[in-house]
């Protein structure tokens, strides 16, 4: 029997479809791992009690000779920001602690149609707001490579669940780096697709014009396979693009000869950790050896990306989170003065939201206020367009842009929690791709002195995710970072 713990999604999917192993066996194996490991990691908010039944259904369909998709029986952990019908969905917030959605996100539906098993829901920074997974109402998540360190965020539970092999892949969401940064911190292949590539329907909104869901996986091929399953136009999301979806996993090529790799000067000028700099240089060298052409590109406006991002994202968030009012679902305060509607709102929201969420609601409310709108939200939207234009120009000179994901590897739990600004600056390399709507990917590239994983970031023009997979595949083979070591916890 195959070693399920270290198998890939495509291997397990194939084995289940060939009936070499049953979906139920696979599911039991990973549920057992969750039972053993998760008390130490804290990656899951809810384990799916119906996972085995869903797996049995996949087996039954196969037994009847029905076609089941490429992810047959593959256990996938879903960030607890995606609605799952009948399965508690919390956004790691007290305000939704008991929310059971009556419907599933399009991404979840597409995964299930492809045969995947939703093994459980993973912890995050509340509503996706954070970079360390410390802002969860259900406690912080530990990095499986070293439990004293954060797994990154906001998709920290997703990253930790896969790094600890409690699932074979996870779906994260990325508003300003929330897939790429935890992927870098936990040694995973994580891709934020082009805005509009993946339906946002049923994904609890943080910042609607920036949010995208994407896979966090153990190989380039797995990331490509999952992306092709979840992508495509969705009638229920007006912002989902009507663009054909390539067979990403079939089209991966190691051919990077002649490919122009853009290196943005402004990114390399930032103060960064020596290990991050070394690993990034090694990645560039590896690509150069394969015949890629290195090009310096200018992105002078990216220095505004973080402030622009925090204006746009908090403004949208302040509006998106207005629906959590304790009226129809979610936490309703028992401490409000009877008959005082305003008090009921402020008590319910005051008790339900954590401090970082409150901070961002206040920032966003301020930025949209009459008299401040022009100077803040409006101005930020204008600069955002300029940043987008700047990337479009840069991509006339290169095919892919390479940069670090973060200025440092994972930091220690508690180290930055009292310095929100330092935490925000952690997003310095990742937010601009969200602002420009571009696809961005974190690829495992090496390790720090302390043995923590470090990724490099790849960016491509809109809907050119295939290029990212090609470069990722080369780095995966030539650097071998994903396979060379395993997290301590396993």
């Amino acid at each position: 029997m195959m070693d399920l713990t270290f198998a890939t999604c495509s291997e397990v999917g194939r084995a289940v479809r060939d009936r070499k192993v049953s979906a139920v066996e696979v599911t039991r194996h990973f549920l057992k791992r969750i039972g053993e490991l998760d008390p130490k990691i804290g990656a899951f908010t809810t384990v799916n009690s119906r996972a085995e039944a869903q797996a049995a259904d996949v087996d039954a369909r196969l037994a009847r000779g029905e076609a089941v998709g490429p992810l047959a029986g593959v256990p996938i952990a879903i960030k607890d920001l995606l609605c799952t019908k009948g399965l508690r969905t919390t956004a790691s917030s007290k305000i939704l602690a008991n929310f059971i959605p009556p419907y599933s996100a399009t991404v979840v539906r597409r995964l299930e149609e492809a045969g995947a098993i939703c093994i459980g829901k993973t912890s995050l920074d509340e509503f996706g707001m954070g970079s360390s997974n410390e802002n969860s109402a259900f406690g912080s998540v530990k990095n499986p490579w070293n439990p004293e360190y954060v797994p990154g965020g906001s998709s920290g539970g997703s990253a930790a669940s896969v790094a600890a092999r409690m699932a074979l892949a996870s779906i994260g969401t990325d508003t300003g780096g929330s897939i790429r940064q935890p992927s870098s911190f936990c040694g995973l292949f994580g891709i934020k697709p082009t805005y509009g590539r993946v339906s946002r329907y049923g994904i609890i909104a943080f910042a609607s014009s920036l949010d995208q869901a994407g896979p966090m996986a153990l190989s380039t091929e797995d990331a490509a396979l999952i992306l092709e399953v979840i992508s495509g136009r969705c009638e229920r999301d007006s912002t989902s693009a009507d663009v054909s979806v390539p067979q990403f996993s079939q089209q991966i090529s190691d051919q990077v000869k002649g490919l122009r790799i853009g290196l943005p000067k402004q990114y390399f000028a930032e103060k960064m950790d020596a290990d991050v700099e070394r690993v990034t240089r090694e990645s560039i060298e590896a690509l150069k050896k394969r015949g890629a052409i290195l090009v310096d590109v200018e992105l002078p406006l990216v220095k505004y990306a973080v402030p622009v991002y925090y204006l746009v994202a908090t403004s949208e968030a302040s509006s998106n989170l207005a629906r959590y009012d304790g009226m129809r679902f979610g936490h309703r305060s028992k401490n409000a003065t009877k008959g005082d509607l305003d008090d009921l709102y402020s008590s319910s929201r005051g008790e339900g939201f954590g401090p970082e969420v409150k901070r961002r609601i206040m920032l966003g409310t301020y930025a949209l206020s009459s008299g401040y709108y022009d100077a803040y939200y409006q101005k930020a939207s204008q600069v955002r367009r300029l940043i987008r234009d700047e990337f479009t120009r840069a991509f006339t000179q290169c095919d892919v842009i390479l940069s670090p994901v973060c200025t440092s590897p994972a930091f220690k739990i508690g180290e930055r929690i009292n310095d929100p600004l330092a935490m925000y600056l952690n997003d310095i390399f990742t937010t601009s791709t969200n602002l420009a709507g571009l696809p961005g990917m974190s690829v495992p590239a090496g390790f720090s002195k302390e043995g923590l994983p470090i990724g490099v970031q790849l960016m491509a023009p809109h809907f050119e995710e295939s290029r990212l997979f090609n470069v990722s595949s080369v780095l995966e083979k030539d650097l071998g970072a994903a396979k060379s070591r395993r997290p301590h916890v396993i």
């Binding site: 609605c83 939704l96 049923g202 999301d237 007006s238 008959g339 949209l368 206020s369």
Partner: protein, 481 residues
């Protein structure tokens, strides 16, 4: 008394915001039904209840209805308009914001014309924008109930300029718009059920001044009569306040029809900062010139044009044309009567007097009339052919109203055919003259007023069935002796 004289030295300045519920089958941003006959909170889904993660999608039929209305209001249609979020907390507003349009509305710069007091009025339409309705709150003691069936039903908000100068004129403007949306078949026009709601902005200034004074908004008025009365009350209240040197507060008021007064709802100073911003869940709404023009081509004839045509084509007086075009159903009914009878003048008379009276008495709408237009037309044709007299026709009409039978059938069954047989009429006349020698002698002695008496006697003797023309003619000859 006209508003020029009634308010003395003061001039009222009035603008109206009309919320028109567009009668699409599904809601503005989701696919739920808009048919409310079902129970509370039954026409809802994750989108219109504001569930986490749910997203809106635009109902294209609602957009088509809005564009048609905009075109009929003479507006220019924006090829790229934007949905924005209007943010405030209220329990019947599920998302904590209403999707509306703010700085880039679908329709702008229109004009509505109507005739009031014999003169033509032209009122500016500043804008007309698409938005979603909120749910409905019901308060019972210390508990409030929310019904979200109405949440996200499409609305078109039509904003007039401050061009109206009196309560009657304002109500007439609202009636005109009401008529238009029904002609366009984009709204059922049901005021009681809230399909057509008026918010009136009222201020008062000294006659001759041009500046706009502080205005008061009277919200959610659901009848034209109340529009008139609420504005009237509000004008007088503001004049009183100004006379006694009080400052008018900018505020929202409600009209209480039972007490015929307005009362303050909430002060605008404390009102929310709505923090409008473009809804990132919806792309800008783009319409091509060709799409707009194809909607323009589908516009039906509007009331004012139809009234003008009635005057020229059917030679009707202006008043009759206006009455008959007040409702699209009525105008359609009238034209069917014309085509079945071939007699526009008679059709107009029968519809305006007999039919409207009966409908009014029985509180029925034209579409509920027990007499189909074709049958009324056939009845008029029977008069014109001389089969029945105008007098008998009234009997036939009454019978049609109650039994719903065809006029020919009624005439047959009741033996109401007009007597045109000369010898039969002659016989009746002879009998009448023989029975009334004194009157005959008086008539012949010069009392010609008695002619009517003899006509009456003859008609009575023939049970009203004798042709009145023939009776007149023959009686005159016989009386001469």
């Amino acid at each position: 008394m006209s508003s020029e004289t009634r308010f003395g030295a003061y001039e009222p300045v009035i603008g109206i915001e009309i919320h028109v519920q567009l009668q699409t089958r599904s809601k503005m941003f989701c696919t739920d039904s808009t048919a409310f006959a079902s129970g509370d909170n039954e026409c809802v889904c994750e989108v219109c209840t504001g569930m986490p993660g749910a997203l809106p999608t635009v109902n294209r039929t609602a957009i088509e209805y809005a564009v048609k209305t905009g075109l009929a209001l003479g507006c220019s249609i924006r090829e790229k308009s934007v949905f924005s979020r209007k943010q405030y907390f209220y329990p019947d507003l599920p998302k904590g914001y209403q999707i509306s349009q703010f700085d880039l509305p679908l329709c702008e710069n229109g004009r509505v014309e109507f005739v009031y007091n014999g003169s033509k009025k032209s009122i500016e339409i500043i804008r007309a924008h698409v938005e979603e309705d909120a749910g409905k709150s019901t308060h019972q003691g210390d508990c409030s109930l929310i019904n979200l069936n109405r949440a996200s039903v499409p609305l078109l908000e039509i904003v007039s300029g401050p061009d109206l100068r009196g309560p009657e004129e304002a109500a007439e403007y609202a009636r005109t718009v009401h008529k238009m949306v029904q002609y366009l078949e984009v709204c059922d026009g049901n005021l009681e059920e809230g399909s057509f709601r008026c918010d009136c902005n009222v201020s008062v200034r000294k006659r001759g001044e041009t500046k706009l004074n502080t205005r008061v908004e009277i919200k959610n008025i659901n009848s034209f009569r109340f529009v008139e009365k609420a504005i009237e009350y509000e004008i007088l209240r503001q004049i009183d306040a100004m006379e006694s040197g009080e400052k008018i507060r900018q505020e929202t008021r409600l009209y209480d029809p039972d007490k015929n007064r307005t009362f303050a709802m909430r002060s605008k100073e404390e009102a929310h900062d709505y923090r409008y911003f473009p809804d990132p869940d919806l792309l800008p709404l783009v319409l091509t010139k060709a799409e707009i023009e194809s909607m323009r081509a589908k516009l039906p004839e509007m009331p004012l044009a139809r009234a003008a045509r009635f005057q020229s084509e059917y030679k009707l007086p202006e008043y009759d044309s206006q009455v008959l075009t007040a409702e699209k159903d009525l105008a359609d009914y009238f034209e069917k009567v014309v085509s079945a009878s071939g007699n526009a003048k008679a059709a107009s008379n029968w519809v305006m007097t007999e039919l409207l009276r009966e409908l009014n008495d029985s509180k029925k709408t034209v579409s509920q009339s027990p007499i189909p237009a074709e049958r009324l037309g056939q009845m008029i044709a029977l008069i014109d052919k001389g089969t029945i007299s105008g007098k008998i026709a009234k009997t036939v009409f009454a019978e049609m109203w109650t039994s719903g039978k065809a006029p020919e059938v009624i005439v047959q069954e009741k033996g109401l055919v007009q007597i045109t047989d000369t010898s039969a009429i002659e016989k009746s006349i002879d009998e009448v003259l023989a029975a009334n020698p004194k009157e005959l002698a008086d008539y012949r002695g010069g009392k010609e007023k008695l002619f009517g008496f003899f006509v009456g006697q003859v008609m009575k003797a023939t049970k009203g069935q004798a042709s009145p023309d023939m009776v007149n003619q023959m009686l005159k000859a016989k009386l001469k002796g």
